[in-house]
Symmetry: C2
Subunit: 463 residues, 2 copies
């Protein structure tokens, strides 16, 4: 009887502990968020049946019993379109799911056996897992909170490289016709703002990532609202601050500054306050291979965008974020996606390259004592490994189908293990070909190292 009581108390404590986890998934557009989340839900739904999850310890130990979809807690947030994504993958021919354009979520209840001493299985327990998907572009707006309009304006204009300048030229010429003290009418202001947004859109089309303000590219219901119609003002500097602040409320400078503040207060902050602050764990997906494909200036740009994005996770005691929102993310994963698009011998290089790309932010994170781990993975594996003879030597190759459904057998090239130098770009470059997803068979989706990422992100919550 006394032993049973101890056991019961132990069970009660177990049940009260670690029973909720909010796991957030982000990445810049085309990083593979939708495929990742679809596969994650799929693997957990197939756990204990046909999912291959050997690197997820509770699955390997046979303790993960399954996962059920539940009603999500936030009724006003779109549900992650899992069924639609599966339908798209099950098409003939199979297609990648439509990318999501804002925040969405999905709740799972995981059932597992707890672990006892000497490998014995304990009671059945549940983990409520909330999965949240949101655009990495929203995190690019964090630094905007640290500036006022004048500072932001200077910083934005200083950061434009030569190619970016080219996209900005038409806006630049138009805005040059106006002085900061001028009263610019509504129509003209909307036109100038339109040109600035066009410049951001063109830069994104051309493969640039580090674009601010993030909502200008995904406006949603704010389309056409003045809060998305501001822009940096060329030719103003910190030295002019006193004069600028003395301008009348209707002046161009004051109007833009007012909209900038509204953007900070009513667009950027609510995301951190209402969502980000509540995340427990986070995975950041990065399309490293895509950036290698796009050449040096865009690769640099991705590095700078990621450095900015990672600031949201670097909350040392004195950070802006910590002061404003007290976030609680206690574990972070970064992952190079689409690892199936290179041969397995290149995977180690892919992780090494991801770590070089994020070297500075990773230093800061380790200094701030945020546990972080890097992975390379394929959420939905689109290729098979083959060996081909070339010049009498056996070489690894990939087999799959292109986006046009034509069969492909190719060697996409070597991934550099560190940041590519000028020599790399001239010598070899890199061209990886996009594959379409594999035909669906109704079973668990094939993947590469999803189980390793899952083990890091939630394995410890399934003990």
């Amino acid at each position: 009887m006394p032993r049973d009581l101890t056991q019961e108390i132990h069970n009660l404590i177990e049940r009260g502990r670690d029973r909720q986890l909010r796991l957030a998934v982000t990445g810049l557009s085309r990083a593979g968020k939708t495929a990742f989340l679809t596969s994650l839900v799929n693997q957990l739904r197939h756990a204990g049946i046909d999912a291959r999850l050997d690197l997820l310890k509770p699955a390997r130990e046979g303790r993960l019993l399954g996962a059920q979809r539940m009603s999500q807690p936030d009724l006003g947030i779109p549900r992650f379109p899992y069924d639609e994504a599966l339908a798209s993958l099950a098409g003939e021919p199979p297609r990648w799911p439509e990318p999501t354009r804002g925040i969405s979520e999905l709740r799972l209840k995981l059932r597992f056996k707890t672990r006892r001493a000497r490998g014995l299985l304990g009671d059945t327990a549940n983990l409520t897992l909330d999965l949240i998907d949101y655009p990495g572009e929203w995190l690019l707006d964090l630094p905007l909170l640290a500036h006022d309009f004048l500072g932001w304006s200077e910083a934005q204009l200083a950061a434009m490289g030569p190619e970016r300048q080219r996209f900005a030229e038409p806006w630049r010429r138009a805005v040059a016709a106006h002085r900061p003290d001028e009263v610019v009418d509504e129509t003209r202001l909307a036109e100038l703002a339109g040109r600035y947004a066009d410049n951001l859109r063109q830069a994104r089309e051309a493969g640039f990532s580090h674009l601010q303000p993030g909502r200008f590219l995904l406006p949603g219901e704010l389309e056409g609202a003045p809060v998305l119609q501001f822009f940096p003002l060329p030719g103003i500097a910190e030295a002019d601050r006193r004069q600028l602040e003395a301008l009348p409320a209707e002046s161009l400078y004051k109007t833009l500054a007012r909209r900038f503040r509204h953007y900070q207060q009513h667009v950027v902050k609510p995301f951190y306050r209402e969502h980000f602050r509540r995340f427990d764990r986070q995975i950041v997906l990065v399309d490293v291979l895509g950036a290698l494909n796009a050449g040096p200036e865009r690769f640099e740009d991705l590095a700078s965008a990621l450095a900015t994005l990672m600031q949201s996770f670097d909350y040392g005691k004195r950070s802006l974020l910590n002061r404003l929102f007290a976030p609680r993310i206690d574990r972070l994963a970064i992952a190079a996606t689409k690892a199936d698009h290179v041969t397995p011998d290149q995977h180690a290089n892919l992780v090494a390259l991801l770590e070089s790309l994020l070297a500075e932010p990773l230093k800061d994170l380790r200094y701030a004592d945020v546990p972080v781990r890097a992975f390379s993975l394929a959420a939905i594996r689109a290729t098979e490994n083959r060996q081909v003879e070339s010049d009498g030597q056996r070489q690894p190759a990939l087999r799959g189908h292109g986006l046009d459904d034509a069969p492909l057998l190719l060697y996409p090239g070597d991934v550099p293990a560190r940041l590519p130098d000028a020599g790399f770009w001239q010598r070899q470059g890199f061209t990886f070909t996009a594959f379409r997803p594999p035909p669906a068979d109704g079973g668990a989706l094939p993947h590469i190292r999803m189980d390793a990422a899952l083990d890091w992100l939630l394995g410890d919550k399934l003990r």
Copy 2:
């Protein structure tokens, strides 16, 4: 000196008074909101130049000097797309502007001379006019605040006529498979909700107007969110209330009731609290001619939709709205739009028919002492009046161009002066043809009685 002082005090009082007006424009989709607002802005911009505004007293008296566009106060609300609408009207061939899909606003500053005794002109003064455009469908949700889920459910199912039932049939069959105490999984719930939304969409396509909940048809950023995924539950009645309320939180009944409450609190109420409450004046546009075209069941449906919509303006002391939000609308206009689509001899009938259509709500409004006036108007006049010989008699006719740009000369038929009876529908029916807008000449847009409506809505603020 003393006379000057009196004058100065008088001027000060004048300036402090009536200097702001928030005028809201609404109507069910296709009622002509976008054309109305475009014309309204256009007429005021052209006041004192080439706009024909003889029925607007301050314009007739030469006191209205002009209107300038200003920055709108609500930075987070889309600006009404006036320039886009004008560009569309100025196309070759001219086209009606794209309809707006949510709330939008635009601010004008009107400059006018005040009126002194004996017709003398006084000082120059300004009126800040905020124009707000929003979907009439949002007002159809007001009654939803007076119900809980059980009451709403019963009322919705009771209100479906035979044709509406037909659209609802696939949803009805699907939902019949579930009991209120059942735990229905997320995927199935989303599927049932999708079928219910399909039924609303099909009914709207088929010309029905009285459809609830309104946001299911214009979801915006809530697309895919659980708050837009509920539906009435057949087979439950007030008599079962106690049993139903005792069901567990995960039951179908409790889940739907929770979403219904979220919809009330986070979708319906915020519109009334943040927007509606701040309107000073309101015009409701009604496409009476379109409803005559659509036949008896849809005409009835429009009448019932309008009766519901008008409840938002009937705030006697004890009304739900007054208790919740204390609105302040002090003057209301209702207008039958597209008056240019019938011959001028039918305009009196058009107003009479509009008043019959709204007979019950108008009684309530007059009882509640809300000043209201009915108009027939054409925001942008698309036709010219002609006389044609027919059987040796001169008959009025309309000349213009169809939506396919072909020239038209026709007599569209007689408008009944009262609610059409079965005889009318059998005997004659009604077919009005849609005209495209007139070619733009850069001047003020041609209209019918926009000036009369403006005089009622803001004439008294320009004294």
